[in-house]
């Protein structure tokens, strides 16, 4: 089936509405298709990096990963508010079970925090959907977009969505579940969380939150962008001080995603193009970084940076490919991150100079924590006598990631042009003042 990025592809559309205006609309635009392709590319990479590890032959684990994929594809193809909510919640279940069964022992407290945190956010989103759906003909996407809200109402509805998305992303004051969850989960769980689940929330902001409540954007722009900017600096500063390499990458993730979220809230086509590039880039580098962290942990038995050192000498291949991913995470030119961060920072700068300056600090601070983590673990006097170098599957993952990052960096215009029609539709929804519902 060919795909024309200028149109919406409809996979299923119900003519008769069900009770309460539920519909079975499924389809995707070019933004959705990019997310679908990302999901379908990342899941095999996660399974490949998991090859030859203790979970590789576990049927239950693999089944849960595929359930996760089902939920994610549902989120990216749902064209009905409640269906989006159902799949959104559905993804919580497999990830919870993966973390619970295969994560660190005695991590119940962490998991409860994660589950309840995200559930509270989702319930707020459900309330927002109900508030919109009551006034709409049905929960179908287009009907929800057509609802005209007063500015005050739109702000309330948007806050409901925002709570759900801010917890998942996570934005600055809602991030407390994240580092502990990352460190206590198995490698594949961390990868699923950071590479795909968080992207669900960013996609939700672009596809659902902003178009549906466009009347409230002018008011809600500032708080969210400021929170994003705080997150950029906060995540980076905390990451610099970390000794645990997985926690370091978790805080780095808060910093990167704060930038994307702030960029999305600028609400124009250029910023969104940058956001999409950066979403793809972040998925790829987080796979690489967490794979490297897991390799270090599995082969040395520790994640503490001060207990590692000199590995590059013993394992040169690992040293090289880890460096490649670290440089990609630094957004050096020719990597995908360069394009994405450059566009985002430029747009934030034109939004407000101070925000732009805070956003730029992510590049500098990012260099500090990334290079520090690399230097402390790979260089210096060797503290280990033996370290098994990369196996074939790990090499393959690193090669695929590096090449993709490089290619996206060189040919990012293809992705930008491809998603441009969808972005133009989504950002062109401007508030009008007729038929306002209090």
């Amino acid at each position: 089936m060919g795909f024309d990025p200028l149109t919406q592809t409809v996979l299923s559309s119900s003519i008769d509405k069900m009770a309460f205006g539920l519909t079975l609309n499924v389809g995707y635009d070019s933004l959705g298709l990019v997310m679908i392709m990302l999901t379908n590319a990342i899941i095999p990479l996660i399974l490949l990096s998991n090859w030859n590890r203790e979970l590789a032959g576990n049927k239950l684990f693999t089944a849960l990963v595929f359930f996760m994929q089902l939920g994610l594809l549902g989120v990216f193809t749902a064209q009905d508010g409640i269906m989006f909510y159902i799949f959104w919640e559905f993804t919580l279940l497999p990830i919870f079970l993966i973390l619970y069964w295969f994560g660190a022992k005695e991590n119940n407290k962490v998991l409860f925090k994660f589950f309840i945190y995200t559930l509270v956010g989702s319930l707020a989103m459900l309330l927002s959907f109900i508030a919109l759906g009551i006034n709409a003909e049905s929960f179908a996407y287009q009907d929800l977009v057509n609802v005209q809200l007063s500015q005050k109402m739109a702000c309330w509805v948007m806050s409901g969505f925002l709570l759900a998305f801010a917890i998942k992303i996570p934005l600055f004051p809602f991030h407390t579940w994240q580092p502990a969850t990352y460190t206590s989960s198995p490698m594949a769980g961390t990868m699923l969380l950071s590479a795909l689940m968080l992207k669900m929330a960013l996609y939700g902001m672009m596809k659902w939150m902003l178009p549906l409540t466009s009347e409230g954007i002018e008011v809600m722009k500032w708080p969210v962008i400021i929170l994003g900017a705080i997150g950029i600096v906060y995540g980076a500063v905390i990451a610099i001080k970390q000794n645990d390499i997985k926690t370091l990458f978790a805080f780095a993730s808060i910093s990167h995603l704060g930038l994307i979220a702030a960029g999305i809230m600028v609400f124009n086509t250029a910023a969104w193009s940058g956001a999409i590039i950066q979403i793809i880039n972040h998925s790829l580098i987080s796979i690489g970084l967490f794979l490297a962290a897991d390799i270090l942990e599995k082969r040395t038995g520790t994640r503490k940076l001060d207990e590692l050192g000199g590995i590059a000498k013993i394992a040169p291949r690992f040293g090289f490919w880890f460096a490649a991913i670290v440089f990609a995470a630094l957004s050096i030119p020719f990597s995908a991150g360069f394009i994405g961060e450059f566009i985002l920072i430029k747009e934030l700068f034109s939004f407000h100079a101070l925000i732009g300056i805070l956003a730029v600090s992510s590049l500098i601070l990012g260099a500090v924590y990334m290079l520090r983590s690399y230097q402390l673990s790979m260089f210096g006097p060797p503290k280990l006598t033996s370290f098994q170098d990369l196996t074939w599957n790990e090499t393959a993952v690193f090669v695929v990631l590096s090449i993709s990052i490089l290619m996206i960096g060189l040919f990012s215009s293809y992705i930008i042009d491809y998603t441009a029609p969808a972005i133009r539709v989504l950002t062109a929804i401007t508030p009008s003042n007729q038929l306002i519902i209090e």
Partner: protein, 450 residues
């Protein structure tokens, strides 16, 4: 009416075949009776009854759906309790007979058009339950539960009768339609009517087990055998909720300004006290009792909205809630958890993946996680209440998060890795019941698509 007669006769037969001490025979007779009753109810509108119609029981489409659900729940409970009946063969006949008599009362409560029939139904429903709660004669807790339930229940009934009397004094009729006409015309004695209605409201809140009349719930649920607990939590609650709905939301609709305020507080308190009370429990049935208080709070949302779809939402909610509760209690029976400790559930899902799966979906459905039936029930109830009772909806969502924490703890407990060598086996009937419950829990959402 015919279904009622069939159920009653089946109950009588069950009572006497119990003397043969052949539980399998008894089960087959009971299931046949229930199947015939189910078929009769299903064909209610196409079928000419050979009996005279006294106009006291009428079934419209909603009432049919509710009575079908009550019969289905009873059948599932009877099948699920078969292992328990076999162990205690001397009481098998009593259980079958009393459960079916109680079901007769439930159907009267669903179909009544007249306050006489309503009162009869309530008593027919309650009295067998008083007996069944205390059927474990050697057990102190069971006896305590029975006495407590009987006395508080009798007290509630007295208040209800007082309310009915005042209502009759105010409107001059027992018939629901006539009462409604009088209320609409405004020619009634206001203070009698309002006080009578308030008394009835109190009695109803007692029967459905909502705060502030919920104190009997945990003790009675804990003392009663699992079978009876399951019956009380599903069929009795279903019938009482429907009667509540048809009296208050249909007959007293015009007086909503008066009773909705009271109900508002009852719901808000139920939503929180139930789950908060459940957090500290160590006994499984007590926990279920507290969680059922909160679930009653959700179910009562159906009374707040005058829209036509609210009764449908209540039905879907009860499907999810009922099947989950039955599944959990069946599992509790299957692991022969006589001490009723929550700790006994540790690792059973890991030992027996089928049980683990059922525990997972039934608890998640109770917590309202999509795409399970419990979610659709809560969602549609809250949808209906949203426009007039926004704050209550927000409270419900907050309490839902507390509930999710509560149920998640149980899920985690049952799925922990357990290295001990105890084994769990399910018999055929328990597999059957759990599978039916799984279908109900997983597929309830499709009801909305019809």
């Amino acid at each position: 009416m015919d279904a009622l007669i069939v159920i009653f006769i089946t109950g009588l037969i069950g009572l006497f075949t119990g003397l043969l001490k052949k539980p399998t025979l008894n089960l087959i007779i009971t299931l046949c009776g229930l199947a015939v009753a189910f078929a009769l109810q299903l064909n209610y509108s196409f079928y000419q009854s050979p009996f005279a119609n006294y106009q006291v029981l009428e079934f419209n489409v909603h009432q049919l759906y509710f009575s079908l659900l009550a019969i289905l729940f009873t059948a599932v409970i009877v099948v699920g309790g078969f292992g328990y009946f076999k162990r205690d063969a001397s009481h098998t006949g009593d259980y079958y007979g009393l459960l079916l008599f109680s079901l007769c009362g439930a159907i009267c409560l669903i179909g009544f058009t007249d306050l006489f029939m309503f009162f009869l139904g309530l008593e027919i429903l309650s009295i067998p339950i008083y007996v069944m709660v205390g059927i474990k004669k050697q057990d102190v807790l069971s006896a305590e539960a029975s006495i407590k339930y009987f006395f508080t229940g009798a007290f509630a009934t007295a208040i209800l009768l007082f309310g009915i009397a005042l209502l009759y004094g105010a409107t001059g009729s027992f018939n629901l339609n006539e009462i409604r006409t009088v209320i609409q015309s405004g020619e009634y004695h206001t203070s009698y009517l309002l006080i009578g209605m308030l008394f009835m409201l109190g009695a109803f809140l007692f029967k459905v087990g909502a705060v502030p009349f919920h104190f009997w719930g945990p003790d009675v649920y804990q003392g009663a055998p699992e079978i009876v607990t399951a019956f009380m939590a599903t069929v009795v609650k279903l019938a009482a909720l429907y009667a509540f709905y048809s009296l208050f939301n249909i007959t007293f609709q015009e007086l909503g300004y008066f009773w909705i305020g009271a109900l508002y507080f009852a719901i808000a308190l139920s939503l929180f006290l139930g789950y908060l009370g459940a957090l500290k429990q160590t006994k499984f049935k007590r926990l279920l009792a507290y969680s059922s208080i909160s679930n009653t709070g959700y179910a009562l949302f159906a009374l707040l909205s005058t829209s036509n779809s609210s009764i449908g939402s209540l039905w879907i909610f009860l499907v999810g809630y009922g099947f989950s509760t039955i599944a959990l209690l069946t599992i509790s029976m299957a692991i022969s958890n006589d001490d009723d400790e929550i700790a006994a559930f540790k690792g059973i899902g890991y030992k027996h993946p089928f049980i683990g799966f059922i525990m997972l979906i039934s608890l998640l459905s109770l917590a309202g996680i999509p795409p399970l039936t419990g979610f659709f029930g809560k969602f549609s109830l809250l949808m209906n209440a949203y426009s007039n009772h926004l704050w209550l909806v927000i409270l419900a969502l907050i309490s839902s998060a507390i509930g999710a924490f509560l149920y998640l703890r149980l899920i985690v407990l049952s799925l922990t890795k357990d290295e001990s060598d105890k084994t769990i086996t399910l018999n055929f009937w328990q597999y059957l019941v759990l599978s039916i419950c799984a279908i109900g829990i997983l597929g309830g959402g499709f009801i909305l698509a019809i």
